[in-house]
Amino acid sequence: MLNKQLEIRQRFNVRMVCFFATTPVFLGLLLFQIMQLQWFEHEKYQLQSDQNRLNIIPLLPVRGEIIDAQGKGLAINHIDYRVTLIPERVKDLDATLHTLAHALHWTDDKVTLLHKRIKHTRPDRSVLLDDKLKWSDVSPLSARLHHYPGINVEAGSYRQYPFAELTSHIIGYLSLANAGDVDDGFLPSEFIGRTGIEKSFETSLHGHLGHQREEVDALGRRIAVINSKPSIMGETVQLALDADIQQAASDALGERTGAVVVMDVHSGGVIALLSKPGYDTNRFITGLESAQWQSWLNNPEKPLLNRATQAAYPPASTFKLVTGLAGLEHGSHLAEGSTFCPGYIEFSDRRLHCWKRRGHDSVNLHKALVESCDVYFYQLADQLGMGIISDTAQAWGLGEKTQIDLAPESRGIIPAQSPYMMAAIKNTQSRRKKWFRGETMITGIGQGALTTTPLQIARLAAAIANGGSILKPQVLAHTPAKVLHQVKVKPEHIQMIRSAMRDVVLSNKGTAHRALNKAAWTSAGKTGTAQVIKLSKNKSIDKDILRHHKDHAWFMGYAPYENPQIAIAVFVEHGGHGGSDAAPVAAAVIQAIATKQSRASDAQASNKHLIRKPGPDS
């Protein structure tokens, strides 16, 4: 009995020892885990704790405005309210979106779209849900904002282009940051310049992001602002562009497709740069529907193409100035003498026609330019050869980028620049059999493979006016002239060309006489009519031919003749004839500039008068 009791007691004691031993095991396990968290992984959790409690709200910068030379707004900002969402702070996305959709009158499609956008965004990045809201739209929402964690109502600004289509190609458009931009550190709700000035001067215009560091609780509610760094507004960019002149050019061009470039002949300042048709850049801000984008892309008139800088066309007779200059500089006796134009020229087995079938009788360089005789320039080009013509064209800034701050830009084509054509011209081994003599001849009148952009032609006009300085076209106002290079040309030669250009306007037989002679400013210029297809000799079908087979009309020139200020290039795609279709546009533009200047000087005079007035009295 006693043994039995002793045995039980002993067994109990052993079990007690087990309990004493096990207790530290349990507590030790806990202590180990806590040490793991608090000691070895402390830094990681400290960071997570800070991330938990700190919310960094980006403060979007206001984009710099773009104004014209007179300070008129071309791209301005309007204050609006926008609703953004930080996905990771939203407890119930569907319910939140549903409430917002009700409050802000969204369509189901928009809700679906937003849902998709939110799913594709990093959960800690703010997503733009709706913008361009009025205070009356958001005020009921912002009063109840604490019910919707993760939702923010922010005052912001949206871009507006008061001139829309008129300035679309020079100003360009914006769109929301894409995945690539986000990798570069932009927020998905930031707008980035994609074309035109908006793109070229993106860094100045964009401004700098600010931020506000806030302490928030578990529901994302702000407890305190820890610090904040305000955003910095982008710089205002003033263009050399004059919206009034741009408007005048657009009015003159009307519904026709084409381009007008007006440049300051001394500074290279771009006073007008118009391409028609344009597109409404405001549509990009409101969220461009893909149907609209597709319709622009598929439109045969290519509204997205900047015809002034991105498209190159045969310069036609405007190029005769270059051929003429080449002849003068290279001492061609044809350039100093004259020839006979029977209305055509024959060589080997071919015959090339002058535009005037009756012929021009005896022609010298002056008459050939004024009346735009083709035969004269066929002969001159034939004598000079392709190499000289190409070199001269290149010297005058053709076949190279103008370096205008509006990328992308077309270089145009000068045949000799292309290795393929060079090989053909030199008649070396080539897939193409031969560079035909006739090809040099039609290049001499600006046809064939040769193409130039309207901007290059405007710059050529400016260079002739300013004595051979090839300028960088300056889109910004108050920018000193940048001479890219100076053409080596004898002053008397350039003067001969100028006087011929003057007679294009002045002389009764000049191709631009009718359009420009009565303008407020004296002007000099050259018309061009670029053949699109070889027309049959029977001209009676002229009226019936498709619009797309009509000739391109060109005019280039400068004004005033005596004291050149502006150079202009007008290009009307499938417009018909340079003299009758392009020159009147130039006339209207020059008229607008002249009127504006005289008004400005009148105003200045009367201002002076007002200031002077108190003088004698006192």
Binding site: F12, F19, T23, Q33, L37, H42, Q46, E215, V216, A218
Partner: protein
């Protein structure tokens, strides 16, 4: 009276009072930004609990032997009533509305079970088919009822305390080992019968990041709170996780993370040290107890404390799934605090009776 004071276990009392002070400080920090009324209520609960503790210090243990069986029968009856007329709260049917308050029969059952098992093993060893089988049957019925409520936490407490008592009562190791193997083998079956939310808790434990804003949120946030506390803590009332409400249930089940965040590893070691002192003291009292019933009682109580502490801290720090057990003396909650203080009152009574050699049964009883 003087003798009674002399026989008090001062170490037990000191560790209890230290825990009271620490607990009230931590609770103050936990409710500081919220409902300070909770802290005042807890103070009242402490007062009530300490009164119960003191009263039980003077109640002879033999009365416990008398009430244990009636208590068990009543508890079982009430448990069976729960599925019929119980109140549903947070997806579980655990409460009985008895007019002035809500009663949780599983809470009564937990203690009744322990008294019954202690008196069963007071005169028997856990050896032989009947001696092991009968108490297992006594546990199995209420355990099944509680598990079906569902209340995993209380079921675990019941099972854990039963195992501890079986071992204390001399359960042969080979049976224990066999049961352990069998238990582990039956885990997949258990999984099958688990509720979805319980399965989710287990899955969340295995990979909290799999659902960072859902079920894993609690564990992630409490781990962040504990980890960011570091060695010395963020300072009293300075815990950002607690202050900014990132912690779930921060005054009840997750209160440990408030302590760890604001007090750091130092405070954790202090708390665990107090618990170690308390538990080893209870075990020492069990060792020195004058009767086998008293030893069993103390061992049962100690095992419950160990389970509560381990499950709670393990859950908060991400070792165990989320099972709602309070942290003894620290978590807010009246009934848990009062019952735990009452249990300590019984332990203290054991200490007093052992010191004064008060017989708990008629002399000549075989296992006295």
């Amino acid at each position: 009276m003087k003798r009674a004071l002399y026989s008090l276990d001062w170490v037990l009392l000191a560790s209890l009072l230290s825990l009271a002070a620490l607990g009230l400080c931590v609770l103050y920090a936990a409710v500081y930004q919220g409902d300070m009324g909770l802290w005042q209520k807890q103070l009242i609960f402490w007062g009530a609990g300490m009164t119960g503790f003191l009263i039980l210090c003077f109640v002879p243990l033999r009365f416990l032997g008398l009430v244990s069986w009636p208590m068990y029968s009543t508890g079982l009856l009430l448990l069976m009533l729960v599925p019929l007329i119980g109140d549903v709260h947070m997806g579980a049917r655990r409460w009985l509305d008895i007019g002035f308050t809500n009663l949780q029969p599983s809470e009564i059952m937990k203690w009744a079970m322990m008294f019954v098992l202690a008196s069963w093993f007071a005169t028997r060893e856990a050896r032989g088919f009947v001696n092991i089988g009968a108490p297992l049957l006594l546990v199995a019925v209420p355990a099944a009822l509680i598990l079906s409520q569902p209340d995993l936490g209380t079921t675990l407490v019941l099972l854990f305390a039963t195992i501890a008592l079986l071992i204390a009562a001399g359960l042969p190791w080979r049976i224990f080992a066999a049961a352990l193997v069998l238990g582990i083998a039956s885990l997949p079956v258990l999984w099958h019968f688990m509720h979805d939310y319980q399965k989710q808790r287990v899955l969340t434990l295995l990979d909290p990041q799999s659902d960072p804003l859902g079920a894993g949120y609690h564990v992630i946030q409490s781990s962040i709170a504990i980890g960011s506390g570091g060695l010395f803590g963020k300072g009293f009332l300075q815990g950002t996780q607690a202050r900014l409400h990132f912690l779930p249930e921060q005054h009840t089940d997750f209160i440990f993370s408030v302590l760890a965040e604001e007090g750091g590893l130092i405070a954790v070691i202090l708390l665990l040290g107090l618990y170690a002192t308390l538990i080893s003291r209870i075990l020492l009292i069990a060792q020195r107890a004058h009767s086998r019933f008293a030893s069993m009682l103390c061992i049962g109580i100690a095992s419950i404390f160990i389970l509560y502490i381990t499950v709670n801290i393990g859950m908060v720090s991400g070792i165990f799934p989320v099972v709602g057990l309070p942290l003894p003396f620290i978590s807010y909650g009246g009934s848990a605090l009062v019952t735990m203080l009452a249990a300590l009152g019984l332990v203290m009574r054991v200490a007093i009776e052992s010191h004064e050699k008060i017989p708990w049964q008629r002399p000549g009883s075989p296992l006295a």
